[in-house]
C-alpha cells in the first residue's frame, strides 16, 4: 500500500498537525519508503497467532476505592493542574470560543 498527497493530508488532519503544501510533497515519498519497508511483515505466517497484549504477564489491578488515597494522584489540586496552562481563567483552562 502506498499513500498519495491527499491521503497524507487526511492523516495530518486526523493527527491535528497543520502541514504546508511543500511539507506534504516532501512527506509523501518518506512515508512511502517506510510503508514499503514495513510491508514485509505481510509475508510472515501468523496463522493461529494471537496479537500481543502484554509483554510480561501481569494482571490488571484495581486500586482501593478510597478517595485521595495517594495525594500525588488525588484531587483537590486545581491550581497545580492549571499551573502550566498557556491560558487560564477563573479556575478553568482557557480556549478559543467553541460554540457560537
Amino acid at each position: 500500500m502506498s499513500v498519495d498527497t491527499a491521503t497524507v493530508a487526511k492523516i495530518a488532519a486526523l493527527a491535528r498537525i497543520k502541514v504546508s503544501e511543500a511539507e506534504l510533497e516532501a512527506m509523501v515519498p518518506e512515508l512511502n519508503g517506510i510503508l514499503a519497508w514495513v510491508e514485509q511483515l505481510g509475508e510472515v505466517d501468523v496463522t493461529g497467532i494471537e496479537p500481543m497484549t502484554a509483554v510480561i504477564e501481569n494482571h490488571l489491578r484495581l486500586r482501593d476505592d478510597v478517595i485521595d488515597a495517594d495525594p500525588l494522584t488525588g484531587g483537590g489540586v486545581r491550581d497545580k493542574v492549571l499551573a502550566n496552562a498557556p491560558a487560564r481563567e477563573d479556575g478553568f483552562f482557557g480556549v478559543p470560543k467553541v460554540i457560537e
Binding site: 510503508l35 511483515l41 497467532i49 501481569n58 498557556p86
Partner: protein, 495 residues
C-alpha cells in the same frame, strides 16, 4: 588529591561513607565539569548545580549525624529530560514542552533522591526519545566526546535517544545518568560512548512521571561507567509502583550483592540470525572475542535461532509510532506547553497550529505513520499484524531460553557515526537499532558493556539479553565480559 570526577558510583558512595571526601566536594567537582563542557558537548538542557550541592549537603549532614546515607548517598547524577522533575523544566527535548515545569516528581527520580543522589541537571535527548543519534532535539545536537583516531575532528553521534546521558558519563560530567529505552535508547548510546547501561525487564521501573513515547516498550534504566555502578543504581530506581498499571509487584533483588563473574554451569546463546551478511568486520571480531571471554569465564556456548529477527524492526516501526501517535495526542496547547493561536483561529485550528509549531520533523513523521496504521481500514493489515509478529518474536526468545541462560550479541551494527551522516534517510537511522529492538519487543532485560575499540579508535559494545526478571544473569555476564575486556579507554579531552 584524586580527581573526584574520575570516580564512579560505588567509589563515590564508599568514599563519602568512609569520609575520604565530602559529598559537597564531589558535587562541586562534577558541577565544574558540567559547566566547562556545556558549550562544546551540549549534554544538558538545564544544569542544576544548586540542587546537586543541596543534596550533597544533606548527605554530609546525615553522615555527621551518624545516619545511613542510602544506596546512592553522595552520588550526583544526570537526569534524562524525559523524567518529570518538580520545579525544574521538563521538555522531552521538544519545543512543545519548553517551559513546562512539573508540579510533581517522577517515581524513578524520587526514588533516586530518596536513595541519597543529587541532580546535576536535565540531560539532552532526542525529541520525545525518537532518534538514534540525538539529532532530533529542539535544543541542539549533543556532541560525543569521542573522536576518530584519524586525526580528523568530525563530530560524532553520542547515540540516542539517551545521548546527553551517554556523553555526560563518558566525558566525566556525571558518574551516572538515567536513561530510558524504548527500542535501544539506553544500550546503543552506551555502546557508542564506551560505557555500560541496562534496560531492565519491562515493568521493573515505574513509568509514572516519564514523558510517554511507546508505553508498551518504554523502560527506564541506569547508564554508568561499569556493571557494578549499574547494579547499584538500578536497585535504587526499581520497585513496585501502584501508579503505573504495568509496574511489576515484585521485590527488588540485591543485584550488587549478587554480582559474580563466574559463568560456570551457564549457557550462552549465540543467535545465528544476528550474524548478518556484510556485517562490520570489527563488530564481528568483538563479538567473537566476547564469546571467548565468556568461555574463559566458564560458560558453555550454544548456537541458537531467533527466526523472526528480521521482522523485529518493521514491527517496531508500526507499534512504536502507533503508540506514540496516541500518547502525543495530549499536546494540544490547552493544558501545558506551547500554544500557537493564529489570529481568528478556532479550537481545531489552534490544535493543528500548536502541534505544527511544537513538534520536530521526526516526531511528526512518527505521529503520521502511527495515525495511518491505526486508521480505519488499515488497522488489521498493519497494527494487528505487527502485534502478531511481536508474539512470534517473544516466542522465539522463549524457545531460545530453553537452551541457554543469556544471549550474547553486538549492541549496534557499527561504532558511532558522524553527525549528519544518516539524517537524510530515516530508514538507515532506524536500522541502527536492529540488534536492540527484538529484546524491547519481548520486554526482556538487556545491557550493553564496552568490549574494546574499533580500528578508528571508537568504542564497541556487546549486548547481553536475559530471561524475564533475570537482571542478575545479565549483569553477571556483563561483569564476566567487563573483567576480561579490561576496557579503560576514555576520550581525550578536547572540550
Amino acid at each position: 588529591m584524586t580527581d573526584l570526577t574520575e570516580l564512579g558510583v560505588a567509589a563515590i558512595r564508599d568514599g563519602v561513607a568512609k569520609g575520604d571526601f565530602t559529598a559537597v566536594e564531589v558535587a562541586e567537582a562534577f558541577n565544574a565539569n558540567v559547566a566547562a563542557a556545556q558549550t562544546a558537548l551540549n549534554a544538558f538542557i538545564v544544569a542544576t548545580p544548586e540542587l546537586a550541592v543541596e543534596a550533597a549537603k544533606a548527605t554530609d549532614a546525615r553522615r555527621a549525624a551518624g545516619q545511613p546515607l542510602g544506596k546512592m548517598g553522595g552520588v550526583p547524577i544526570g537526569m534524562k529530560d524525559l523524567f518529570a522533575t518538580k520545579g525544574v523544566q521538563t521538555t522531552a527535548a521538544s519545543h512543545i514542552l519548553e517551559g513546562f515545569t512539573p508540579e510533581y516528581e517522577s517515581t524513578v527520580s524520587q526514588k533516586l533522591w530518596d536513595a541519597g543522589a543529587g541532580m546535576l541537571g536535565k540531560l539532552n535527548l532526542d525529541q520525545f526519545a525518537m532518534g538514534s543519534s540525538n539529532e532530533t532535539s529542539y535544543f541542539g545536537n549533543v556532541i560525543s566526546p569521542w573522536r576518530r583516531s584519524d586525526g580528523g575532528n568530525a563530530a560524532l553521534a553520542p547515540g540516542g535517544s539517551s545521548g546527553g546521558s551517554s556523553t555526560a558519563v563518558a566525558a566525566r560530567l556525571a558518574p551516572a545518568a538515567t536513561g530510558t529505552d524504548t527500542g535501544g535508547s539506553i544500550r546503543q548510546p552506551a555502546a557508542f560512548t564506551g560505557i555500560s547501561g541496562i534496560k531492565p525487564t519491562y515493568g521493573r521501573c515505574s513509568r509514572w512521571g516519564i514523558v510517554a513515547f511507546a508505553s508498551s516498550l518504554d523502560q527506564a534504566g541506569p547508564m554508568a561507567r561499569d556493571v557494578r555502578d549499574c547494579a547499584i543504581m538500578l536497585e535504587a530506581m526499581a520497585g513496585y509502583d501502584p501508579k503505573d498499571a504495568t509496574s511489576l509487584n515484585l521485590p527488588v533483588p540485591e543485584w550488587e550483592a549478587g554480582l559474580s563473574a563466574d559463568m560456570k554451569g551457564k549457557k550462552v546463546g549465540i543467535p545465528r540470525e544476528y550474524r548478518m551478511d556484510g556485517m562490520d568486520a570489527d563488530v564481528a571480531a568483538s563479538w567473537d572475542r566476547g564469546i571467548e571471554w565468556l568461555k574463559d569465564a566458564g560458560a558453555e556456548i550454544v548456537e541458537i535461532s531467533l527466526p523472526h529477527t528480521k521482522y523485529a524492526l518493521p514491527a517496531y516501526y508500526i507499534i512504536a509510532p502507533a503508540e506514540a501517535s496516541s500518547n502525543l495526542a495530549r499536546y494540544d496547547g490547552v493544558r501545558y506547553g506551547l500554544r500557537d493561536l493564529p489570529d481568528g483561529a478556532g479550537l481545531q485550528d489552534m490544535y493543528a497550529a500548536t502541534r505544527a509549531a511544537g513538534f520536530g520533523a521526526e516526531v511528526k513523521r512518527r505521529i503520521l505513520i502511527g495515525t495511518y496504521v491505526l486508521s480505519a481500514g488499515f488497522y488489521d493489515a498493519y497494527y494487528t499484524q505487527a502485534q502478531k509478529v511481536r508474539t512470534l518474536i517473544s516466542h522465539d526468545f522463549k524457545n531460545a531460553f530453553t537452551q541457554c541462560d543469556v544471549i550474547l550479541a553486538p549492541t549496534a551494527p557499527t561504532a558511532a557515526f558522524g553527525l549528519g551522516e544518516k539524517t537524510d534517510d530515516p530508514l538507515s537511522m532506524y536500522l541502527n537499532d536492529v540488534f536492540a529492538v527484538p529484546a524491547s519487543l519481548a520486554g526482556l532485560p538487556a545491557m550493553s558493556v564496552p568490549a574494546g575499540l574499533n580500528r578508528e579508535g571508537l568504542p564497541l559494545g556487546l549486548q547481553i539479553v536475559g530471561k524475564p526478571f533475570d537482571e542478575q544473569g545479565v549483569l553477571n555476564a556483563g561483569l564476566a565480559i567487563e573483567s576480561r575486556a579490561q576496557f579503560s579507554a576514555k576520550p581525550d579531552k578536547w572540550w
